[in-house]
Symmetry: D2
């Protein structure tokens, strides 16, 4: 079976994005029941969802996990819900939405279609701190998660799909004194673990 | 017009609940266009929603604002969305739900029916730090907000209704070194301000 | 008796400095046994200590309390010790020291000569969260505290003298989402309280 | 040359202490110019300094690095100064000092005799977030650091000696949602790096 794994390009002042590093590292690997096929998404409200949609149509995956950086969080946080709202700081094209609907007629929220409780359990059992998050924010991460689940819903697909936030890597934290961080190696190992329980 | 204002009783290790103190202080006052009628909700998953429903039926309000304490937050945070999930630490009866639906056939989320952007603006303009929050958590605050919006939806009512989280009061922070806090006076003044822009 | 109360001018991205606002508000007032005489210090490593020294020589105070902003702290924190080190981000003249001694032959540290435990007790008893801090940092606040105690020591004076950090005011927190804050009124009242127990 | 490396036993609610895990892991290893000899200290105000003193007399080391856990910090923090004060929460024997001098006639503070700036540089260059800390607190870590430097001073020894705080390990963070954490492997590698620059 095929797993589409997405990461994001760098954004704001961050020089790299550890979610993209994980995606690149795991691209082409067989993990558990899945062959991983990785793609990188732009941090651009006008483009990210189109790119995701194209990747899904191109890869035709049996499962989708989108990864994003949550600078400031100290553990792996599978997201419980995406909400129908764009809001936040500037994206990479300088666009700053406020209180906008993502899909004019879409529902207010969509629960994740990933086994997020199992993700947390397998991570904790293997020594990686993890916790379910109840908000993916209203920036690109939530935008991509909402679009992903809305597309699945519109197309009546029922495969595992959702979003997982990761903490900063040590590399990013070197110049940001307030960021908790993990080694890139730990981040990648943690994502491999969650794929094995799909 | 009548505004139903609710606060919660104390919970966990907190000896008082500043949301209840605000409600008691403002009970019976005329603020802007509204006569405030206050009620206190129990921190009990099996009872809070019933109590809220009874209070609404009894008061027949033109607007509903539920208040709750967000220990750890440093500003007033009107909530954007309630989600269909009970999860968290023990309530006051010792019940600890995990990943439970609040309403079996309810939608995954309900957006607030309060003018939350206006709330933030009027607070900031008057010198009170405020920010929209994208998660009311999955504890009693979210539970009450979801029930409130679900009831409005089921009964086809369209009045302003939603939830606002407040930071800890100085009194609670005295014994909790990590809690940001405001004076109770500031908390009450801030809630009065948001009522004036309904 | 005369109390010299100092605050700092604004620095970094902060548009005002609540420590200066307190000093200005209390200047000339009689609080407890002390007539308060306030002065504002520059955020300038080359100038702050000279200014402080001039103010002391000019006022000839019976007690000295220097105030400074600790953006990020959530309560009043009387400082326990000043250390013989300048280090940190740019001051208002663009100077950035690293690991420099303040006084070449001075001791590594000087304990405060203020009754800091009593300060904490009176604040907490009156509902203002407070805690002794064990580090005034290595920026201007520590610099001024070290110079103050070094001067007292060199001149064999034994009057109460030391430093108290205050949290951000609401005004500063309006544009800084991560700053805990108090109202300016609470900050000023808290400083009045500590003067009464000198 | 011999390096005495100390860690602490577990304390408070922590089931393990990653500082002890590092010490045990590196005991007997040759790292850079030093043969590492590790010892574990008790979290006991009445005993820790005696134990440290005995270990120094027994091992007769050419350098001493004491390690301690700073739960809540997100990076390696070599300490700049130890202060002459015991204060804090209960130790493992239930003793809770307040504002006590460690050495009745000792100076208020002692600067570290380790090359702490070089430690930070080598860690950062190798991808491990690090920062000098200006306070080791007033609990056992500071107590041991002060005793170590006081003993060196009293005995006119001039070898490298001081204290380095480490963040929580993933293992501790599994049950403490607010703790930033590193893998034990990262913590141990970071300590090896600092030994190489002695």
């Amino acid at each position: 079976m095929k797993l589409l794994l997405t990461g994001f390009e760098p954004f704001l002042d961050f020089m790299i994005n550890p979610s993209a590093e994980i995606a690149k590292e795991l691209d082409g690997q067989q993990v558990g029941n899945y062959k991983i096929i990785s793609r990188i998404l732009p941090v651009d409200f006008s483009e990210a969802a189109h790119a995701l949609s194209r990747f899904i149509d191109e890869v035709n995956p049996d499962a989708v996990i989108s990864l994003g950086l949550a600078g400031g969080r100290n553990r792996i946080t599978p997201e419980r819900i995406a909400i129908n709202c764009n809001d936040g700081v500037k994206d990479n094209r300088g666009f700053t939405p406020q209180d906008q609907k993502i899909a004019e007629d879409g529902p207010d929220g969509y629960f994740s279609k990933l086994p997020i409780r199992k993700f947390v359990q397998i991570l904790q059992e293997n020594g990686y701190p993890a916790e379910i998050s109840n908000s993916a924010g209203t920036y690109l991460c939530n935008n991509v998660m909402y679009h992903l689940l809305h597309k699945m819903n519109m197309e009546n697909k029922d495969c595992p799909a959702g979003f997982v936030h990761i903490p900063s890597s040590h590399e990013l934290a070197l110049t940001s004194p307030n960021l908790p961080s993990w080694s890139q190696r730990d981040l990648t190992e943690a994502v491999k673990l969650i794929v094995t329980c799909l």
